[in-house]
Point group: C2
């Protein structure tokens, strides 16, 4: 049994995960908000909730083979430190050593959220069987997990693989990282929400609301989504020029938008890429569970 | 002994290459222009010149272990076909089968020019000993050869790795590929030449001439080079965000510009990349010989 810990933007999700079968099973789960918690309070809340989950499952701490953490930020996996999680306000936080105080003897491994999600798709989801593939998580940001030669690629030196912060329109829109014109600034779901606010009003400052309006045939929403698909397909075509992946799975808010967007997206990418070949862009399998599952696979493989 | 064949933009370079020692040695070489030749005439010229080289070296065809080709374009290496070499006007050209008519029984392997150059740097040049690294060839275009896990990466499906055609300022300057705003359109040496023509006049429509003027302290040339370094460092920082390479070697016209540009380039990239770490950008070792040597290593390793 593995403990999967998914640190999100506002909530922590915990799951006890059985990886023995051909498909992973989350046998017990819980979730809690952690806004305002210090990292020590966070660790205490994680271990308290883990104990509760174990109790209701009739399990003991010794039944946990390892605990995996999915972290939205830059980490030092070797030393178990969150270097920078800007959205959480955590910097140089020794999460592993703090967790070990209450989970003595447990193997704890850390990975970033994009890599965790890619690992879950690779082992049990849309990227199963691929040697070279990519998961794009399109939500508040643009996360990308790259599979190269059957393994998650975390940078040539291990610093990470931050594809979302490659340039797209260098010098253009402000990105969350402080630079201008990154892929993330144009291909994230937030950029749909931004345009929704501009063109449709405050109540459409939300990607889902704009997509619903688009599905209902609204022309302004149609213009917003067409323009977004134009940017997104250029971003993906550029990534295909460099990585030439067998498959691209899309997770996050965008994938929930429904199949209607995958047709135009696939045909635009086929037209725009350098090699002039079609690429295979599909919805990811795991949405909200990708962090818990990916973190579990990560510690399992570490 | 290997035969290295480097198909350039205007000239073909041939070399007989000895890979037995710790350093590769080109024991015999020749070069000839091939403008206007059909691919059959080209193959005949290659074999004629090869025979002459063998003769003057006292060697026979049977002394050649293999012939490698470095091609500036899209290839189908399995079938030995040049799919598209736009600059040469070759499309769907069965080069290997044509060459085999006059070089019967010889193993012939094909790679593109960026990958060939990266292979030469990896085995005997600036990238020796690296597991994950990159060669950028900055000339008329922007070629990039990516080393991942000790091997040249030619795309997840084998179509290629065309980093130069990733977006940089999407929708911006026209690129040789027909799309707008690719990395190549901003980071190639041609973009220095363009600005030289605009700001300094027709006699400075040449990167080398602008760089010489820059070295002599000319202010306009200074503005051109500063602006070019700003773009180039943003391109390289973006590539570092995705690939996090141990080392980046720079070949082509730019590397010949002298060491004076590497200082500012390294410090700009250190400031601009997402991880906030310095990267190691150095001149490539092989300039004009990278194609002959890389092609030889390629057939040696195939």
């Amino acid at each position: 049994m593995y403990l999967g810990i998914d640190i999100g933007g506002t909530n922590i999700k915990l799951g006890l995960v059985d990886l023995n079968g051909s498909d992973p099973v989350i046998v017990q789960r819980c979730s809690f908000p952690f806004a305002g918690m210090s990292y020590k309070e966070l660790c205490r809340a994680i271990t308290d909730n883990t104990e509760k989950m174990l109790e209701s499952s009739g399990l003991k701490l010794r039944d946990i083979t390892g605990a995996g953490l999915s972290v939205p930020g830059l980490i030092d996996p070797e030393n178990g430190i969150i270097l920078h999680a800007y959205n959480l306000g955590y910097h140089d936080v020794p999460l592993r050593s703090e967790l070990l105080k209450d989970l003595p003897g447990i193997k704890i491994a850390m990975t970033n959220d994009a890599n965790a999600a890619a690992l879950a798709e690779l082992h049990a989801g849309a990227l199963k069987g691929c040697r070279n593939a990519m998961l794009l998580t399109i939500g508040t940001g643009l996360g990308a997990g790259l599979i190269l030669d059957g393994k998650v690629f975390n940078g040539g030196q291990g610093h990470g693989c931050e594809i979302g912060h490659m340039p797209f329109k260098d010098g253009g829109k402000l990105c969350s990282c402080g630079r201008r014109g990154c892929m993330e600034a144009y291909a994230s779901a937030s950029s749909i929400a931004e345009r929704g606010r501009e063109l449709l009003g405050e109540e459409y400052a939300d990607a889902k609301a704009v997509l619903d309006l688009y599905a209902a045939g609204n022309k302004t929403a149609g213009r917003i989504i067409d323009s977004y698909l134009d940017d997104l397909s250029s971003v993906i075509a550029g990534l295909c020029n460099a990585f030439d992946p067998e498959k691209i799975a899309v997770g996050g808010g965008f994938s929930a938008a429904g199949d209607v967007l995958y047709g135009p997206l696939n045909s635009l990418v086929a037209k725009k890429n350098f090699f002039g070949v079609p690429y295979n862009i599909v919805p990811a399998r795991f949405l909200n569970d990708s962090g818990i599952l990916g973190a579990s696979y990560h510690v399992h493989l570490t």
